[in-house]
Amino acid sequence: MRYVMLIHQGDTPTPDDQEAWAALSPEEQQRIPADYQAINQTPGVTPGVWMQPPELATTVRVQDGKTLTTDGPFVSVKEALGGYFVFEASDLDAAIELASRVPAARLGGAVEVRPAAEYE
């Protein structure tokens, strides 16, 4: 089965927020990117495209044929998607185990595990 692993940063400190990032211990600052690297190198993982923070998003809607843009993500900044990767796994338990190793999951965010739609 293929799973799309959606990373929500929530309250997770990221390097984009320098103040919050500086509050982390130096070990943690090293461990976070190392953990992401380990996940990207896990067999079955296809890394996603790294995204800039949701504050930089532009949301587009079309109403009555007119294109409307708003500054920021579709959901609130805290709820916005932070990143993703794809994982080919035997079952949901394997996907949950890998999700629990994503730093955001233990630092105030969460990982949403979604089965990919397979069309034969």
């Binding site: 796994a89 079952d91 949901l92 338990d93 949950i96 595990v113 089965p115």
Partner: protein, 392 residues
């Protein structure tokens, strides 16, 4: 063995082995249902087969194979790579794998919401109909049917595995299974006795399947000891407190069975949540009750669970042991403002300390929060008793 009994005992096994074989819940349930319907028709007429289990499993399996052969689109739903041929021979009972454990871990997977875990367990292992489950949980049948459909769909589409979790996951996953069984039991304990019986049946199966897990024995002990007092909990529809219960109504055999389960749990080194709760329940049915020991066990349980409800129970044990002031001091520290038992307990403690006005206010707050009718009447009676000086 009556037909009803055979059905109850065999349904879970037959469905589990079919799901293991087919990898599809709906097809397994439908095939099992057909086999059981056929049995209901034939057995009374021709007499039951030598091995009801083997007959039911073989018949259900053949029915499923027939259906897949008739409707090739069903193959895609199953895990079968090719469709086997229906067999004339009855399967040998000893070679039918018991896959109930795989099934219960699938039904109680934490990726399903708790309500769905409960419903799915009762449907697939307990053989309750959707209508029966809906009635037991006081939801419309349509809602329950949707819940079951959604859960089965998620198991299939999200790849929830049909297997017993590996050792490193087992403690957490077993806790989820036990929570579901205990929830079913408590629904039954609250009045619908058939669900309590169903929970005991599930507990018995778990003991058979996981004989070395102390918490499984602990849960069974807890359920048996509490269930033994079921008849005594209500008199003329009114709630009766433990120390006012007519002990002649207690099922002494069931209490003894519960004590044996508790001994087994303790012998296996169990000292976790269900084992401690069972030990407390066992102390409660002794005469006289060793309240100091009850309070000590609640303290141990509270240290594990960090639960204020457990602290509230410890307060009750302290009060029963004679230290009402200490008990009241414990309840002062609890963050349970919206829990009617907190206020009911405080009402009782304040009454015993002769602080009638405060007791009345506490009962008033409890009455605002209580929902179950017998408990409401009980609290109203306690409050009314405040007006006339009591001796206790």
């Amino acid at each position: 063995m009556t037909l009803e009994q055979a059905f109850r005992d065999e349904w879970g096994r037959v469905v589990a082995s079919l799901i293991g074989f087919l990898g599809d819940f709906d097809l397994a349930e439908e095939a099992a249902q057909e086999a059981f319907a056929l049995a209901a028709e034939r057995w009374p007429r021709d007499g039951p087969p030598e091995s009801p289990r083997a007959w039911l499993t073989t018949t259900a399996r053949n029915r499923a194979i027939d259906r897949i052969r008739r409707d090739r689109t069903l193959v895609a739903k199953t895990r079968l790579l090719e469709v086997p041929v229906a067999t004339e021979d009855e399967m040998d009972e000893t070679t039918i794998p018991d896959e109930r454990l795989e099934l219960i871990f699938t039904c109680c997977h934490p990726a399903l919401e708790l309500d769905a875990q409960v419903a799915l367990t009762l449907r697939t292992l307990g053989g309750l109909t959707t209508e029966e489950i809906a009635r037991a949980f006081l939801v419309p049948q349509e809602t329950m049917a949707k819940r079951l459909v959604r859960a089965k769909k998620k198991i299939h589409a999200a790849g929830i595995p049909f297997r017993v979790p590996p050792a490193h996951q087992l403690p957490d996953r077993l806790a989820a299974v036990l929570a579901v069984v205990y929830l079913v039991f408590n629904e039954g304990y609250g009045g619908r006795g058939d669900l309590a019986t169903e929970a005991l049946r599930l507990g018995g199966a778990l003991v058979e399947l996981l004989p070395d897990e102390p918490e499984v024995h602990g849960l069974v002990a807890l359920m048996l000891i509490n269930d033994a007092r079921r008849e005594a909990r209500f008199a003329d529809g009114e709630l009766v407190l433990l120390h006012d219960q007519d002990r002649a109504l207690w099922d002494s055999e069931r209490i003894a069975a519960g004590r044996r389960s508790l001994q087994r749990a303790l012998a296996l080194g169990g000292r976790e949540s269900y084992v401690l709760q069972a030990a407390i329940a066992a102390l409660h049915v002794e005469d006289p009750v060793d309240w100091a020991e009850v309070a000590a066990l609640y303290a141990e349980l509270g240290a594990i669970t960090g639960s204020d409800v457990v602290e509230l129970n410890r307060a009750v044990a302290l009060a029963e042991g004679g230290d009402v002031e200490a008990a009241l001091a414990v309840t002062d520290r609890l963050d349970l403002e919206r829990y009617h038992y907190l206020h009911a307990t405080r009402g009782e403690l304040l009454r015993r300390l002769g602080r009638a006005d405060e007791a009345r206010a506490a009962y008033d707050r409890a009455l605002e929060l209580v929902t179950a009718e017998p408990e409401r009447r009980f609290l109203e009676q306690r409050r009314a008793d405040l007006e006339t000086p009591s001796t206790r």
